[in-house]
């Protein structure tokens, strides 16, 4: 036993103690905010209950040809079909001037994550700018980009990508 202790001593003396009392930083979990969120934007468009009277989400969806417009790959230009959709949305929004909307911009999975955030922002702004040109006050519209985080269609093919490159006008329930 004494022999063993001696050899431990020799080894330990020869060692370079580099770790030692290395500082240990314990990560604390990030607490969710306690404030109550009213209709949080979840990127899910007009999903949810499809019932309601005039000025409701359900009314909006019944009244317009589509709640969304679609874009070509890496593009944010509004074409003729988009204009017809947005014209109808603008007309509905003029009937209900107290309704505030969120315009979600989305991209397909073929862009990198950060670039797609910028691209979704472009698309949402393109839709908003058009609605504004049709008389909808910008104060009533909020844009948000979801990049490629909320695909409408999770498949990896042309049809799915075309559905995912979109700007959706979201009306509160």
């Amino acid at each position: 036993m004494k022999m063993r202790m001696t050899s431990i001593a020799a080894i330990a003396l020869a060692l370079s103690l580099t770790a030692g009392c290395a500082t240990r930083r314990a990560e604390r979990p990030i607490d969710p905010p306690t404030e109550t969120e009213v209709t949080p934007n979840d990127g899910l468009g007009n999903d949810g209950s499809q019932e309601g009277g005039p000025g409701s989400r359900a009314d909006f969806l019944r009244s317009v040809p589509a709640d969304r417009v679609f874009f070509e790959l890496d593009s944010y230009s509004i074409d003729g079909e988009d204009r017809a959709t947005l014209d109808a949305q603008a007309a509905w929004l003029q009937r209900y001037p107290n309704v505030r909307v969120t315009i979600e911009g989305h991209a397909d999975e073929r862009g990198t994550r950060e670039y797609n955030l910028g691209l979704g922002d472009r698309r949402a702004n393109a839709a908003r700018d058009y609605l504004q040109s049709r008389g909808v006050s910008p104060d009533r519209m909020t844009v948000i980009s979801w990049g490629k985080e909320r695909p409408q269609n999770p498949a990896s093919n042309e049809e799915a990508w075309a559905q995912n490159r979109r700007a959706v006008t979201v009306v509160p329930q």
Binding site: I11, L17, T18, P29, R113, Y115, P154, S156
Partner: protein
């Protein structure tokens, strides 16, 4: 008590020992180790891996600790060292299973003959010892089998819960000694854990050791989080989050206090954050009315400084290690390409010209390479800061979002479009390895070396 004195005495030799590793020069590649055994050729691709024997590590006295018995720990530490070295692709570990037993007395006096027959050129031996104050000492020795001499040695005193770190640091010391490169095994990964269908994907911030051990979640998934990055000083983590009705924005997470605060006060979307090398500033992108430009701001907050001013999407800013230049991506030319500018935004010039586009540039901590995502094909590659020497590191499967190991010799990234996985590639060997995560994973960010 004798052991206590041993530790105190050994601590005196600390500066000598650590200096021998810390001052190991990082010569320009390709370079050859002093022993002429391993050539790290960063631009040339694969070389034969170096066979290295890693037998189980004995203990001077079998002792129960908070992390298990020291005999079991000695076996586990050897396994981690062998796995780390093998993961780099620069070594072919032999053992620990199937190798001759090493007695405690042999740790410093190897039985070279017993290992030369395995074909190993080098031999790693060590021990695990429980100390009276509850800590562990892990000894770590590297030998040249043919020359029969010791190449390096190190000892690590850790709390039992940190026993894996001691193993990683042992592997780091061997990797550095034999390659001349900086270390990278004693590191962690912060990333985005993913679960659920694509349309309702739940994304949580999570942190783990570089090899997937000690995994834990930092957020509960109530809010989508994206693109976390470690501060070089490891005091904060920056990430982007969608929170309630607010614009998605960059948040700064103070590791020690758990406090989270927004990086900027402006009511615009902010994203693509990265730290300056001295941790004092964060470069990020801000989208205003459909136009994205690059800004910097002090970590503690203040007024953003705008660096780009074009109609394109300018994003993905990353500082050079000396902090004087920034690489970023922009589609101002029509599609995503890489540009370099001075840290004040001046002298913006394009460095990538290939088809398909280039995105998510990240400047290597060594300064010699820029890692990127090749769009279209979604491959990870590297090029020089001048745009020359483009080399693709991944094959076949969709990959995105490179992050450098602190030694600038390995790159971790996301692989797989729908259910992401974390993989890394050793730039020198080309070896691809997967990091296991409990759920899907994306947006990995490699930490600095923890022992720094």
């Amino acid at each position: 008590m004798p052991t206590f004195r041993i530790i105190a005495a050994a601590a005196v030799s600390l500066t000598v020992g650590s200096a021998s590793i810390a001052q190991t020069p990082a010569p320009a590649q390709p370079q050859e180790s002093e022993d002429g055994q391993l050539v790290v050729d960063v631009t040339g691709g694969q070389r034969a891996a170096l066979p290295i024997a890693v037998p189980y590590m004995p203990t001077p006295a079998a002792t129960d600790t908070a992390a298990g018995g020291t005999e079991a720990l000695g076996r586990q530490v050897a396994q981690i060292v062998a796995t780390d070295l093998g993961n780099s692709g620069l070594f072919t570990p032999i053992g620990p299973g199937g190798l001759p037993n090493v007695s405690f007395d042999q740790v410093q006096a190897p039985n070279y003959g017993a290992f030369s027959s395995t074909g190993a050129q080098n031999l790693v031996q060590g021990f695990v010892q429980a100390n009276p104050n509850g800590s562990l000492t892990v000894g770590c020795y590297l030998y040249d089998v043919a020359a029969q001499n010791q190449l390096t040695r190190a000892g690590y005193v850790v709390q039992p819960r940190d026993w894996r770190r001691a193993a990683h640091r042992c592997a780091d010391s061997i990797y550095s000694r034999l390659t001349g490169e900086g270390a990278y095994f004693d590191t962690r990964i912060v990333y985005v854990s993913e679960t659920g269908p694509a349309r309702r994907r739940v994304k949580r911030l999570a942190i783990m050791d570089y090899d997937g051990a000690n995994h834990r979640f930092l957020t509960n998934g109530q809010y989508t989080v994206l693109t976390p990055r470690f501060a070089p000083d490891q005091r904060t983590i920056v990430f982007m989050t969608y929170q309630g009705n607010r614009q998605p924005r960059v948040m700064v997470y103070e590791v020690e206090t758990g406090r989270v605060r927004p990086l900027v006060e402006q009511p615009h979307m902010t994203f693509a954050p990265r730290y300056s090398p001295d941790s004092s500033r964060i470069i990020f992108s801000m989208a205003i009315n459909g136009n994205t430009d690059i800004y910097t701001i002090p970590v503690g907050g203040g007024t953003p400084t705008r660096l780009t001013n074009t109609a394109g999407i300018d994003t993905g800013g990353s500082f050079s290690p000396d902090g004087r230049r920034i690489v970023f991506e922009s589609d101002r030319s029509g599609n995503q390409q890489l540009y370099v500018m001075n840290a004040d935004g001046s002298n913006q010039r394009r460095i990538s010209f290939g088809g398909g586009g280039y995105a998510t540039p990240v400047w290597s901590p060594r300064g010699d390479l820029i890692a990127f995502t090749r769009t279209g094909s979604f491959q990870i590659g590297v090029m020089s800061p001048e745009g020359s020497g483009t080399r693709i590191l991944t094959r076949g499967v969709y990959a995105e979002g490179p992050s450098w190991a602190p030694n600038g010799r390995a790159v971790m990234f996301t692989r797989g479009a729908s259910q992401g996985q974390l993989w890394y590639v050793d730039v020198a060997s080309g070896a691809l390895r997967r990091v296991q995560t409990p759920l899907g994973g994306s947006d990995p960010a490699w930490s600095p070396l923890r022992s720094n």
